[in-house]
């Protein structure tokens, strides 16, 4: 059974439909990527899955209808979104941001151990644990957003443009981290403009254009698709 499956989902802003009849599914433990150009509806789709935007169509997560759950309940059930804007708590310390990531969890006794885990994964955050989140560099902010998300022990982690606005060296580090998360058993839905890096990391990919899925397949097939190479992967 799929962890998350969505069928014929449409999302509209007022009268403009930004996502039409999108269907996709993610198995437990899989990394699935949605690639496509700017404005194709990728972020809109993420916002609809987490519940920040209203949508039509069917969304099923762990066998239950998502429409009945609000954002906070979805988070409580292990859905977690790292949004494009990160949405960190700028006037709070790195430590407080991470602790708030664990807010929805019941197993409080495991939190210190997970915090250590995040600090091991991102030693830079440990150095800056008492610094305000707003004073961090772009790369550190993305690490903090990822770390904060991991503190919720998500079952499905949704990453919206994790490489956006970061230096190439940091981008490589972020993708290495995403790939290494596979061992923890978390499923990942990765939305990216950086199609090559995303397909190299993912198991399966969807291509979205002007709100519709135009192509899908195993990531290692898509990465060799000539049309895709011409459109998104910059030749070779």
């Amino acid at each position: 059974m799929a962890l998350l499956s969505i069928e014929n989902v449409c999302v509209s802003y007022d009268k403009v439909e930004a996502v039409h009849n999108v269907s996709l599914s993610i198995e437990a433990g899989q990394i699935v990527t949605v690639i496509g150009p700017n404005g194709a509806g990728k972020t809109t789709l993420m916002m609809a899955i987490i519940g920040l935007l209203k949508s039509k169509g069917r969304m099923e997560y762990l066998g239950q209808d998502l429409a009945r759950l609000d954002v906070e309940s979805r988070v409580g059930q292990g859905l977690c979104l790292v949004p494009e804007k990160r949405e960190l708590f700028h006037d709070m310390s790195v430590y407080d941001n991470l602790i708030l990531g664990s807010y929805s969890r019941e197993d409080r006794s495991q939190v210190p151990q997970d915090l250590e885990g995040v600090f091991e994964r991102f030693p830079r955050l440990k150095e800056r644990r008492s610094q305000m989140a707003g004073t961090l560099s772009g790369g550190e902010r993305q690490m903090l957003a990822l770390g904060r998300a991991l503190m919720s022990r998500p079952k499905l982690l949704m990453l919206d443009e994790p490489s956006l606005g970061l230096a190439p060296l940091i981008v490589r580090e972020i993708f290495r981290t995403i790939a290494s998360l596979r061992e923890t058993g978390v499923s990942i839905l990765l939305v990216e403009q950086n199609a090559r890096a995303a397909l190299e990391t993912a198991d399966y990919g969807y291509v979205i254009e002007t709100g519709e899925i135009v192509q899908s397949g195993p990531a290692n097939t898509l990465i060799h698709d000539e049309k895709l190479i011409a459109a998104y992967l910059g030749g070779h």
């Binding site: 987490i50 906070e72 949004p83 949405e87 708590f89 700028h90 407080d96 990531g101 807010y103």
Partner: protein, 347 residues
């Protein structure tokens, strides 16, 4: 003005300011978490004083009727919205939180009144009666329009204040009250008389501010409130419900307002409509703090208290005019100070 008089006015001003500190901090707390400028906060303080006065004389305070009426209304609103959302499983909780708990408080207080309990118990009874009022008003009035603009919320808040003044007249009557001083202690420092009440007011302001600071810095719930104030979307993505954070903010704010009502009742005669000036002056203090900074708010509220004290000595008819006129230079200064923050708007 002699130095002696200035010193007396200063002490008096600090005590008045300390009262405003409590109400102003509650105002800032609620504004940052819910974006509501809760004008009726002064009314909450005044109602606490009226409740305590009734309890002191062994009468049933009007607060009981007010609380039960609001609880019934809030339950009706909540259950209606749950039925509309088809969330039937949550209906029992709605009855528990919005009806059973407030009604239980009202019942316990009502049963305790004939026993003539000692002062500390009466204080606790008054605070218990007052605490649920603001959260219930939030459920009835503000939650249906929670996504509205700050201006809309402010207009509704002002309307709610006038409604509460009317309800105050209905439930408490037009008589003013003054409660017994909480302490008969007196001391003299450098020729200035300090009453126990003055010391108590200042100590209470310091203690409650410190407790709030500890709550924000060391508890997960406190941090979740700060997170909601800083970034609502971010907080929701962590599973923090803004509505629940709002309820906690209203409870804490009501506690601060209730304590200030208890402290001011022996010093000033309180009527059903006395809350407006308390709330408005605390609001001036909160504006000095930019409606965001707690230390700034505390300093602002003390400043308002001292200004009021000296203004009432110079020309008592104009003391309120002088305090509220301060708003104009303060707003000019705040708007100049806030210019640089426009680039942070996207958060």
């Amino acid at each position: 003005m002699t130095p002696d008089i200035a010193a007396i006015l200063g002490v008096d001003g600090i005590a008045t300011g300390a009262i405003y500190v409590l109400v102003a901090i509650g105002t800032v707390l609620i504004f940052t978490v819910t974006r509501v400028i809760f004008i009726p906060f002064g009314d909450i303080a005044a109602f606490t004083a009226l409740t305590l006065a009734a309890l002191d004389t062994g009468q049933v305070p009007g607060t009981i009727g007010l609380l039960v009426a609001l609880a019934c209304l809030a339950t009706l609103v909540e259950v209606t919205s749950l039925v509309r959302k088809q969330a039937y499983r949550e209906i029992p909780y709605a009855f528990l939180y919005y009806l059973v708990i407030p009604a239980a408080i009202a019942l316990v207080v009502w049963l305790l009144i004939p026993l003539k309990p000692p002062l500390p118990v009466r204080l606790a009874m008054a605070l218990l009666l007052i605490l649920p009022i603001a959260p219930l008003l939030d459920r009835i009035v503000f939650r249906p329009i929670a996504d509205g603009t700050v201006l809309l919320l402010l207009i509704v808040s002002v309307a709610l204040h006038f409604a509460l003044v009317g309800l105050g007249l209905l439930f408490f009557g037009p008589e003013g009250v003054r409660t017994e001083p909480l302490s008969s202690f007196h001391m003299e420092i450098a020729g200035i008389m300090l009453s126990g009440q003055t010391i108590l007011i200042v100590v209470a302001a310091i203690v409650f501010s410190a407790l709030l600071y500890l709550f924000f810095d060391f508890t997960l719930v406190g941090k979740s409130l700060r997170a909601t104030a800083i970034n609502r979307t971010g907080a929701r993505l962590m599973g923090i419900r803004p509505a629940r954070a709002g309820t906690v903010a209203y409870l804490l704010g009501s506690l601060m307002a209730g304590v200030s009502g208890i402290l001011i009742a022996p010093v000033n005669t309180i009527f059903y409509d006395s809350g407006f000036l308390i709330g408005l002056k605390a609001f001036v203090g909160a504006i000095i703090g930019g409606l965001a900074s707690y230390p700034g708010t505390a300093i602002g509220a003390i400043f308002v208290g001292i200004l009021e004290s000296f203004a009432s000595f110079q020309s008592s008819a104009f003391k309120d005019v002088i305090v509220f006129s301060m708003l104009i230079p303060i707003l000019i200064w705040r708007s100049l100070a806030a210019l640089h923050s426009e680039e942070e708007v996207d958060e």
